[in-house]
């Protein structure tokens, strides 16, 4: 049993007789197990029903669980959809550092492509190729679609009716822009204007 508990919670705990303490520890462990064993968050109702415990027992066990967790790397999160165990935010730099697939450097080709789309939209594939002077690899477009940064909308009224590409609100979000007007002014460049 941890010696310190959050101030406002000692209440709930002290209301329960000391005989209940071992049982409370067990309940808090059961809650911990169930939260580790579920993909979706669990509501208080879920947990109380699964463990067949009262609201009072639940509250006290939760306090105990939080106290136990306070020493570790996880924290109990309460959201609208229920309780879940979550890695503390302070460890996000470590996770991002060690698993860099979550972090990503954008390739020059990808940046050029999204720039052309952003500044010249709506554009066709061949417009992009025209400006960049290289054949557009479909892999780059797919990456942009995967990120949700671009979408097809409408067709150019020309031979083959190529699809017109636009940027999306997700693109603006990723670059911290609230509208396309906030794009840095386009420098005076041959081929772009």
């Amino acid at each position: 049993m941890p010696s310190t508990l959050p101030d406002d919670d000692t209440h709930a705990l002290s209301a329960i007789s000391s005989d209940d303490a071992p049982q409370l520890l067990t309940i808090s462990r059961y809650i911990e197990v169930l939260l580790h064993a579920t993909e979706a968050p669990l509501t208080a109702a879920n947990l109380k029903k699964a463990l067949n415990i009262s609201q009072k027992q639940f509250n006290a066990a939760l306090v105990l669980l939080q106290a136990r967790l306070s020493e570790g790397v996880l924290e109990l999160k309460v959201t609208a959809s229920g309780y879940r165990l979550q890695i503390r935010d302070t460890y996000s730099p470590l996770i991002q550092h060690v698993f860099p697939q979550r972090q990503e450097r954008l390739s020059q080709a990808l940046l050029e492509t999204i720039s052309v789309i952003a500044y010249k939209q709506p554009v066709t594939r061949s417009d992009i190729e025209q400006v960049r002077g290289v054949t557009l690899s479909s892999n780059i477009l797919r990456q942009l679609f995967d990120k949700g940064w671009i979408k097809e909308d409408g067709y150019k009224d020309t031979l083959g009716q190529p699809a017109l590409l636009h940027t999306t609100p997700q693109f603006l979000d990723a670059f911290g822009l609230s509208s396309l007007d906030e794009l840095p002014p386009l420098p005076d460049m041959v081929g772009l204007t």
């Binding site: 049982q23 064993a37 940046l111 906030e182």
Partner: protein, 290 residues
């Protein structure tokens, strides 16, 4: 420590053995009124009974074990008869299930036939189908037992569970993501322009516009009437200039504004067929047709 949660609620929900009234199954001419009581058989679906087995070898193994005989000593005939009788009972609607069983049945028939035939004088040293079948049954029995032992191991996601947790909050994770500066976009465009390959491409593209070249060649030819193809190529703009001139000429020919003057005929018959004319870049002459 009390365990308030673990009620023995999980019950074995096995259906009781079922004794169908009239099954179209015979063993040794005797109608089968009761199927083995260790298997559940719905009356209308004999096929489902076979689905209880992992396959014909499993089924054969069941028959062998049920008869409780030593496989090597066992006369294969009664087992074959029994197997075939069961297979005969298969609903024709379930023949897709029966493929493997029928294959096994044919093997059994082959063995049966062989056993019924008079033995040849000289023992042939070729394959012995009965021994082969027994070997297969033994191998299968071994793997079946091995699979049971494998299934008895503590298995992840049945007996042992991984601990799942959520990742740090989306905001915290996002804070670690490189916040893409909009200037990246502009910088990428500058870099694009600095790329020598790209540069050359744009300059050529813009310095030798096809439309301009079409216009200038049209102007020259319409003024002069005819002109050597070679002199029309603007070599002052390098390779690209030549290429664009060539494309401009092709475009004009496509629009039927320009034709080729065969070198071996007078210029005034320029519109004549050029099929047989020798085309030589040095002497090739173009005429304005419009």
């Amino acid at each position: 420590m009390s365990q308030p949660v673990l009620s023995p609620a999980i019950t074995d929900n096995q259906p009781a053995a079922y004794a169908p009234a009239a099954l179209p199954v015979h063993i040794y001419q005797t109608p089968v009124t009761q199927l083995p009581d260790d298997l559940y058989v719905p009356p209308q679906a004999f096929a489902i009974w076979l689905e209880q087995f992992a396959g014909p070898l499993d089924f054969l193994l069941y028959l062998v074990k049920k008869n409780n005989v030593d496989l090597t000593q066992m006369p294969i005939l009664p087992i074959t008869e029994q197997y075939l009788t069961y297979i005969n009972g298969l609903d024709t609607e379930h023949f897709e299930l029966a493929g493997d069983y029928l294959l096994m049945a044919s093997t059994l028939i082959a063995i049966k036939t062989e056993l019924l035939l008079p033995k040849p004088e000289t023992p042939h040293d070729e394959r012995d189908p009965k021994a082969e079948l027994i070997a297969r049954l033994e191998t299968y029995a071994q793997i079946k037992e091995a699979s049971a032992r494998l299934d008895n191991l503590l298995r992840l996601e049945r007996d042992v569970f991984l601990a799942w947790v959520s990742m740090p909050s989306a905001e915290a994770m996002a804070a670690e993501l490189p916040s893409y500066s909009p200037n990246l976009l502009i910088e990428s465009l500058f870099k694009m322009q600095m790329n020598p390959q790209h540069h050359m491409h744009t300059i050529n593209k813009d310095a030798v516009p096809l439309a301009d070249r079409i216009a200038s060649i049209s102007r020259q030819l319409s003024t002069e009437g005819t002109q050597r193809f070679y002199t029309l190529l603007d070599k002052s703009q390098g390779k690209m200039g030549v290429v664009v001139s060539f494309v401009a000429v092709l475009e004009l020919m496509k629009r039927q504004l320009v034709g080729i003057v065969p070198t071996n005929v007078p210029a005034d018959s320029a519109a004549a067929s050029t099929d047989t004319a020798t085309l030589d870049a040095q002497t090739l002459t173009l005429a304005w047709l419009a």
